[in-house]
């Protein structure tokens, strides 16, 4: 009894402080997550749960047409989403960060300008770009016509070979401020002496970047890459706002999250298709496995290459 009292005297405040957060986390994070895991192993009739059906929902998603075609299509779109975004942020983003780190005139203005789109809601970004890219009266098309390049105007969002890339570029426009900000901080954290030593040894600016800046940035790049991966494999808003839940045109922009949404709640545009909770939950679990596995692998890799100055 005395043990309990002295333990409470020592740690009681911790319990008091942690309880509210734990209750909220448990109710709104842990419980929904675990219950949706269990949803995936039951058969569902609309929103009513029927019997336990083991891995049937997973087998349906992975092997039964058209679910399997949608699923693998969505994964390949998410993968392209990630690869292109990664390519843009580690070339253009890194380049801008290194330039900004030189603190040229107008530094503060450009720093803010590059970060600004990142502060906008993706719903706003999607709506804005959907209007700008409208082939009938969008500003992009009007601008091209004004300078005599009317032939270049295309229904970018309506063609299956351009729609996804267009959305990835719009996403990059909105996202790039974040990697730039993080890279900039990392570049500025590299001690001056390293660069000075390189210059004294006769290194060109490129050699300085290649052999001093870049190796020291690798852990940061790896961390941003993991975040990008998680973000891009969960991407939803842009496609939903710009192309609808069906990943129009004909699933060319369908992502795992839009596939999940459509399956869970029915596509409102096709009118009254009932949701299939069990199959949707299976898609959600598969997303969780993919993202969790790759992120865990990435985090381990990053920890191994951590640098301290």
């Amino acid at each position: 009894m005395r043990d309990v009292r002295s333990w409470w005297g020592k740690h009681g405040h911790l319990v008091l402080f942690l309880t509210p957060a734990l209750v909220i986390y448990g109710m709104f994070m842990a419980y929904p997550l675990i219950s949706s895991l269990t949803y995936s192993v039951y058969e569902w009739d609309g929103y009513l749960r029927r019997g336990f059906n083991g891995l049937d929902n997973f087998v349906t998603v992975l092997t039964r047409w058209p679910y399997n075609e949608r699923f693998w299509g969505a994964i390949s779109h998410n993968a392209l989403f990630f690869v292109l975004t990664f390519a843009i942020q580690t070339t253009l983003g890194l380049f801008v960060a290194v330039l900004l780190a030189r603190k040229w005139r107008g530094f503060a203005f450009f720093q803010a300008a590059y970060f600004l789109p990142h502060t906008l809601s993706l719903v706003v970004v999607g709506f804005l770009w959907r209007m700008l890219l409208n082939p009938t009266w969008g500003a992009v098309g009007q601008g091209l016509r004004r300078v005599g390049l009317g032939d270049w105007v295309q229904p970018w969002l309506g063609q299956s070979d351009t729609a996804l890339v267009t959305i990835i570029l719009v996403n990059a426009w909105a996202w790039l401020g974040f990697p730039i900000l993080v890279y900039l901080a990392a570049v500025q954290a590299i001690p001056r002496e390293f660069h000075e030593a390189a210059v004294v040894d006769g290194a060109s600016p490129w050699q300085d970047f290649r052999h001093v800046t870049l190796p020291l940035l690798l852990p940061t790049i790896a961390m941003v890459t993991i975040l990008t991966f998680i973000w891009d494999f969960n991407a939803f808003e842009l496609v939903f706002v710009m192309q609808g839940a069906s990943g129009s045109p004909s699933y060319a922009t369908d992502l795992l999250a839009t596939f999940f949404y459509r399956t869970a709640f029915g596509d409102p545009t096709t009118g009254g298709e009932p949701g299939q909770i069990g199959i949707a939950a299976a898609i959600g679990v598969l997303m969780l496995i993919i993202i969790g596995f790759v992120s865990a692998f990435g985090v381990r890799f990053t920890q191994r290459s951590q640098t301290e100055y």
């Binding site: 609309g46 929103y47 009513l48 047409w65 058209p66 890219l133 409208n134 082939p135 009938t136 105007v153 295309q154 229904p155 970018w156 969002l157 309506g158 063609q159 299956s160 609808g244 069906s246 129009s248 045109p249 004909s250 699933y251 596509d267 409102p268 545009t269 096709t270 009118g271 009254g272 298709e273 009932p274 299939q276």
Partner: protein, 412 residues
């Protein structure tokens, strides 16, 4: 005290006593948030004749209504009067025994068109579980003033339709406002173009009976006609979405619009001066009959667990009456499902006439939305790819057939 005054007092006392004894309030759920004012009027008209029954109309957000309603009904609660979706959207509720079967109870239903009643029928027992309220037709709308200005007339053959399209294009506007960016608008385009070429109701009856399937050459021929209209759609049509289409037609940048009757209300808001006519897409020769699609928007039903069955039935009888049908069409500018109602609007009257003479059930919506993948989902996405030139009609037919055969008993 004069005799009149005495009679008045007596009748007042009786009225008060009657209402105090038998005042029933029915609850009525719906997704028509935009029609609250109209429903208040309908309810007031009902209440005037049935002072002992009052009705409270509660609309929910369109996209959440299905979930709210089915959860409430399955839990044994919910409203007395239920605004129901049509076809596949209502059938699951009827099959679960949550609705009152109305055929045989509501006499006015016998006067309804059998094709219309399909929208509120449970296919398992053939029973009617709702009083259909509105019908929509899918056809070609056209700008009457623009046609008059260019000396154009409603086409009576396919060649004439293309000639009208060429004349519109030559005058500097698009022939059709249609685009294909939003998947579901491909189904609308098919609903306007297809029926004439697959042969309307006979084909519909054969395919729903399982006597033929989507590999039938008539179906492919209908899809081909839709593809043949590509040169007449808006420029960059693969990037033209639904709101763009509405705007192009409303602001006279296109002369025709393959669309539903519900656009009349939208157009009246965007451009009240627009005069709209409508026609069915004609066949190759004027002698072959043309067809348009129509479908039931939904119906009114009674909750099987409602404690006010008798009062609910009286309200439902009112909703099936000619008086209500006329009020409905006048107030909301939509086609009432009640037989014999006369729309006051000229454009709407034209559509009703076409529907009565040439109407055939809207293929995918009325017959192939009962399982997944639904015929609508398949048609929309396959034809979006065909219209963009990414697929052939033959590919689309193969996939539509394969998808529907996953669940449709008639093909198994």
């Amino acid at each position: 005290m004069s005799r009149t005054v005495r009679a008045l007092i007596v009748s007042l006392v009786f009225a008060f006593a009657a209402s105090a004894l038998a005042q029933t309030t029915l609850s009525f759920w719906s997704w028509r948030t935009e029609d609250v004012a109209a429903y208040e009027k309908f309810i007031a008209a009902f209440h005037a004749d049935n002072p002992d029954i009052d009705v409270t109309f509660t609309p929910y957000l369109n996209t959440e209504y299905n979930t709210i309603l089915s959860t409430a009904l399955q839990g044994g609660g919910g409203p007395d009067i239920v605004h129901l979706r049509a076809y596949g959207g209502m059938e699951s509720l009827a099959q679960a025994g949550l609705l009152v079967r109305l055929d045989g109870q509501v006499a006015a239903l016998e006067g309804f068109d059998p094709g219309v009643l399909l929208g509120a029928t449970n296919r398992a027992d053939g029973g009617v579980y709702g009083v259909p309220f509105a019908l929509q037709t899918v056809q070609v709308l056209y700008n009457v003033d623009m046609f008059e200005r260019l000396g154009l007339e409603e086409p009576t053959t396919w060649a004439e339709l293309l000639a009208v399209g060429d004349a519109l294009k030559a005058s500097g506007v698009y022939a059709f406002a249609n685009g294909t960016k939003d998947g579901w608008t491909n189904e609308t385009l098919f609903g306007a173009v297809g029926p004439t070429f697959y042969g309307g109701t006979p084909f519909f009856q054969e395919i729903t009976a399982g006597e033929t399937d989507f590999t039938d050459p008539r179906f492919a021929a209908a899809l081909e006609r839709m593809v043949a209209l590509r040169p007449y759609l808006a420029d960059n049509y693969t990037g033209v979405g639904y709101t763009d289409m509405q705007t192009l037609f409303a602001f006279e940048q296109a002369g025709m619009f393959a669309a539903g009757s519900y656009e009349l209300g939208n157009m009246a808001q965007l451009n009240p001066d627009l005069r709209i006519g409508s026609f069915a897409v004609p066949a190759d020769d004027a002698a072959t009959p043309s067809a348009i699609s129509f479908y039931v928007d939904g119906s009114y039903g009674i909750n099987a667990n409602s404690p006010h069955q008798e009062a609910a039935l009286r309200f439902i009888e009112f909703l099936a009456s000619q008086e209500f049908g006329q009020m409905f069409t006048d107030e909301l500018q939509q086609i009432s499902a009640v037989p014999g109602t006369q729309p006051t609007s000229e454009a709407l009257a034209g559509m009703v006439e076409m529907m009565n003479e040439q109407g055939t059930p809207y293929l995918m919506l009325t017959a192939f939305r009962f399982g997944q993948p639904s015929g609508s989902t398949l048609l929309q996405n396959e034809m979006q790819a065909v219209m963009a030139g990414d697929k052939t009609v033959a590919d689309a037919v193969t996939n539509i057939q394969r998808g529907v055969a996953e669940w449709f008993e008639g093909f198994q």
